[in-house]
């Protein structure tokens, strides 16, 4: 098995993960809400006109502003755009949107917050989407 990993990747991964954890804890400690991004995006738009919904829109704005700050302040390289093309973007986007709503969460809500709360439901969901993620990449990269 070939592995691409080094100290620089380790440090970046750990710092990134710590920041994600801190943000999720902040949201829970102050607002009492789980940081599940699929839920925040859907409810943010579904309940657009409700006043108690505004925090979701602010969080989503932060999600876009944060990387701009990180890339500028720490001089991180901007990742190259995907070369999969718009058709795959549409297909994958539809499946991700549909799947995360039906399954009540994504990498953040189930993977970080759910597992942290020791929810077996979230542990199961995380194992499931990891498994189909690994399987999909195997099929796309090594069979087709």
């Amino acid at each position: 098995m070939d592995i691409l990993f080094n100290q620089q990747i380790l440090i970046a991964s750990v710092i990134g993960g710590l920041l994600i954890g801190v943000a999720a804890v902040m949201m829970f400690a102050f607002l009492g809400h789980i940081t599940g991004i699929s839920g925040i995006l859907f409810q943010g738009i579904n309940k657009l006109n409700q006043s108690d919904n505004l925090w979701r829109l602010f969080f989503l704005a932060g999600l876009i502003i944060g990387p701009l700050i990180a890339h500028n302040v720490f001089n991180l390289a901007i990742p190259e755009a995907s070369n999969k093309g718009p058709i795959i973007a549409i297909v994958a986007g539809l499946i991700v949107g549909y799947g995360t709503r039906v399954g009540s969460g994504c990498t953040s809500g189930h993977g970080i917050c759910g597992i942290s709360r020791l929810s077996m439901r979230s542990v199961t969901a995380t194992l499931m989407f990891m498994a189909t993620g690994f399987a999909t990449v195997f099929i796309v990269n090594h069979i087709f």
Binding site: D2, G17, I20, G66, I88, G93, V96, Y98, T100, V137
Partner: protein, 137 residues
Amino acid sequence: MNNLIALIAGCIFGGGLAFSGMTDTSKVIGFLDLAGTWQPGLAFVMGAGLLVATPSFYLLMKGGKPFLAEKFFAPENSAIDKPLLIGAALFGIGWGLYGYCPGPAISSLAYLNTDSFIFVGAMLVGMFAAKQFPIKN
């Protein structure tokens, strides 16, 4: 105040995604590609996130209520049912196909790539499709 906290937390979360490489679809697919050149970095992202969140969530839930709200809004559903399994399975397929889960997809809008806007638009269509056509248990 709630909105300011949410904005700051969003910035920290998005900054974390950018730092960790999760806004780079090639790194995400590299992590999911066990049979290729495997990039284990993202496992450490999740590990570090859990390292912070697990003890904090435990202490917070023990302590009563949030600073700015009357109660915690943690999900109470604990059923491992058909929608959970099918939904999570589908999500993983879409994640593996393109390399974005919802958070990094939104954060990547900052890079102004057309395909990221297409992905997020399609994701929203998929979310509202789930509202119209849910999978019943």
